[in-house]
């Protein structure tokens, strides 16, 4: 192919020039780390002051087995926990529901009641370890269970620290684990933000997530734009509730993908901080610097992992993790080499954690804040990403906000088109995926974590015993009270806490809410 014909673009399709110089970065002064608009990072000393939290997303089979994995990870030097729940839990079904057949414990830990949550955190001091929970539609129920376990451990809610994903908008857009329609769902999210502002000052009640948007096939700019616009939607709802911006905005956290295009990713994180800082100050009139600082967790791109030649995935993950670190992430998950096949084995997850430790302790990249700032290419790419994302944000504003945009299928269609375009490029050989459409060779089989139906049987039996043992009168009373609160406008959190303490199950609680809110049916946008 002649040089003139070949297109050089980022993985998202953004054209890249042969070389960048001072003229490209003219007028693009990124400022200083720790200073508004935080393009170069939210801290002056960045990783000198505090390394990122090494937080491997983990959960499988029963809460008993997952609890053992947590103890193992903490012994290996992991510094925070991140809970993966199974699909029935994510969808608000108990392990013994018909829809749960074949799914219990497959994609995460099965949690149907407070009893399971007690087992999940057995021997883990919730006053010291920060815990992130990937749960969305029933997030407030699982959070109520978490707070109840903290209380049992004698830990004051003021001290509990961690993160609830609780980002329902990206479920409608990308991940599709929704239960209720958008508006009642937003009310539940707002309930948690309000409750957190009053009772759990060290807890992040939401992690506004671009990760799943990107995994669904979006471009880097779409990830940036839809995530930040989702963030603004949550802010609008909290303000509408009567909260003061600086009372809750410092606790909004973000979760971004760390994909394969190294510089495009670094630019994305920098642009994200800039857009958010400016929006908080100018769109919302925040006064506190803490409200303006975008803090984010990053996870390397699951969708970039290949089934073919799985050991190559270690290399992909290392490069993606380096992008997240150079982009100033506060916490990081590195994927395991076997995750194109299954949930990770202990061996694979250890290599993934060691990858972060090599970056943190051997590579030297943590010695100085934002070592890549001032690169002509990076500054230009940051500025272009910011402008392109702002275009999308304006379009969504023009539609009346994120909920009307979702109802019109706008972000969904944009993502579907981008993902199809990418797949076609791979198909045509325009994008090389090593080991898949070029450099193929025979694979050596790897050991995989197997989850059979034993976990499901164990969970179902435990649940039957719980239903027989608990005070069913108290359960009914608490569910009735919850239903009434849901029909009105009160904050549902105190009622949810009472239901979980009565050992009402997740499925029963979600059924009570389904009876009031209804369920969401999506129109599929191909």
């Amino acid at each position: 192919m002649k040089v003139a014909e070949r297109q050089f673009t980022t993985i998202s399709g953004v054209p890249v020039a042969p070389v960048y110089g001072a003229e490209d970065a003219a007028g693009l002064d990124p400022g200083q780390p720790g200073e508004f608009p935080y393009t170069r990072g939210i801290h002056r000393d960045m990783y000198r002051g505090k390394l990122w939290t090494m937080r491997q997303f983990s959960g499988f089979a029963t809460p008993e087995e997952t609890n053992r994995r947590y103890h193992y990870l903490l012994e290996q030097g992991q510094t925070g926990l991140s809970v993966a729940f199974d699909l029935p839990t994510l969808m608000g079904y108990d392990a013994d529901h018909a829809m749960s057949e074949g799914e219990v414990g497959k994609c995460g830990a099965a949690i149907s009641s407070l009893e399971d949550m007690e087992i999940l955190f057995r021997g883990i001091p919730l006053g010291d370890v920060t815990v992130s929970m990937t749960i969305n539609s029933p997030a407030s129920v699982l959070w109520a269970m978490y707070l109840a376990v903290a209380e049992q451990q004698g830990v004051d809610w003021e001290r509990v620290s961690g993160t609830l994903q609780n980002d329902i908008l990206k479920e409608y857009i990308a991940q599709k684990e929704y239960i209720f329609p958008p508006k009642p769902s937003m009310r539940l999210v707002t309930d948690t933000i309000e409750f957190s502002a009053r009772h759990t000052p060290r807890f992040n009640p939401i992690s506004i997530s671009g990760y799943h948007i990107r995994e669904a096939g979006s471009t880097a700019v779409q990830e940036l734009a839809f995530t930040l616009r989702d963030g603004m939607e949550y802010v609008d709802w909290a303000l509408e509730r009567g909260l003061e911006i600086d009372s809750f905005a410092p606790r909004l956290s973000f979760f971004l993908n760390a994909h394969s295009d190294f510089f495009e990713e670094i630019a994305k994180y920098r642009a994200a901080r800039r857009i958010w800082a400016l929006a908080m100050r100018d769109r919302y009139g925040a006064k506190s610097e803490r409200s303006m600082k975008l803090r984010f967790h990053a996870q390397t791109a699951g969708c970039s992992l290949t089934w073919q030649q799985p050991y190559n995935n270690v290399v992909r993950t290392a490069i993606q993790a380096l992008a997240a670190v150079l982009g100033g992430a506060q916490s990081l998950h590195t994927n395991s080499l076997d995750e194109a096949y299954a949930l990770p084995s202990e061996h694979a997850v250890t290599i993934a954690l060691r990858t972060q430790q090599v970056l943190a302790y051997e590579s030297g990249v943590t010695n100085t804040a934002d070592p890549i700032g001032g690169s002509y290419f990076i500054e230009k790419l940051t500025s272009n990403s910011e402008a392109a994302a702002n275009d999308y944000i304006r379009r969504i504003d023009g539609m009346g906000g994120m909920i009307p945009a979702i109802e019109a299928g706008f972000p969904q269609s944009e993502i579907a088109a981008a993902s199809y375009r990418y797949q076609r490029e791979v198909e045509a050989g325009e994008r090389i995926v090593v080991g898949v459409n070029k450099f193929q060779s025979d694979d050596h089989p790897i050991e995989l974590l197997q989850i059979d139906e034993t976990a499901a049987r164990h969970q179902v039996e435990k649940l039957a015993k719980l239903r027989a043992r608990r005070d069913n009168g108290r359960v009914q009373k608490s569910l009735d009270a919850l239903r009434r609160a849901a029909e009105g406008t009160e904050n549902t959190m105190p009622y949810l806490i009472e239901t979980v303490k009565s050992y009402a199950t997740l499925g029963e609680i979600c059924d009570a809410l389904r009876s009031v809110f209804g369920v969401h049916q999506e129109t599929a946008y191909l």
């Binding site: 991940q175 599709k176 579907a416």
Partner: protein, 132 residues
């Protein structure tokens, strides 16, 4: 002109990861097939009923959650009950080799694992439907 091949693309189980299903649906449509996409969270009964109603020759099941061993055999059983064994069933997603073998033993025409090419899937369907 011969009647275009009709395909039902379905997402069984609780898994919401529909990137693959949507890409496949578009690719089959671009290849001239008539594609019906069921949307998410379909039970085996809903899928087989839709296949009957829509009179499709092919059912494509996309499963990434590991629930294939529970879901696919049930679909095959229902097809047998309804005398629809001429409908070809394809499975795509995260299916380990030994499970893929078992699914083929149960009558699944093909299992496409991650990295399978779109053209490969299109050609497989065209070839399978032509000969039958």
């Amino acid at each position: 002109m011969p009647r275009p091949i009709r395909v039902l693309v379905a997402k069984p189980g609780l898994d919401g990861h529909d990137r693959g299903a949507k890409v496949i649906a578009r690719a089959l449509r671009d290849a001239g097939m008539e594609v019906i996409y069921t949307g998410l969270r379909q039970t085996p009964e809903m899928i087989v009923n839709a296949a009957l109603q829509e009179d499709v020759q092919v059912i494509g099941l996309s499963i990434l959650s590991g629930a294939h061993n529970a879901v696919v055999p049930r679909v095959m059983e229902l097809l047998r009950e309804k005398d629809m064994t001429d409908v070809k069933v394809l499975v795509g997603g995260i299916v380990p080799d030994e499970d893929a073998e078992e699914l083929r033993r149960q009558g699944v025409a093909a299992v496409f694992q991650p990295g399978a090419s779109l053209d490969g899937i299109v050609n497989f369907i065209k070839k399978t439907i032509e000969v039958s």
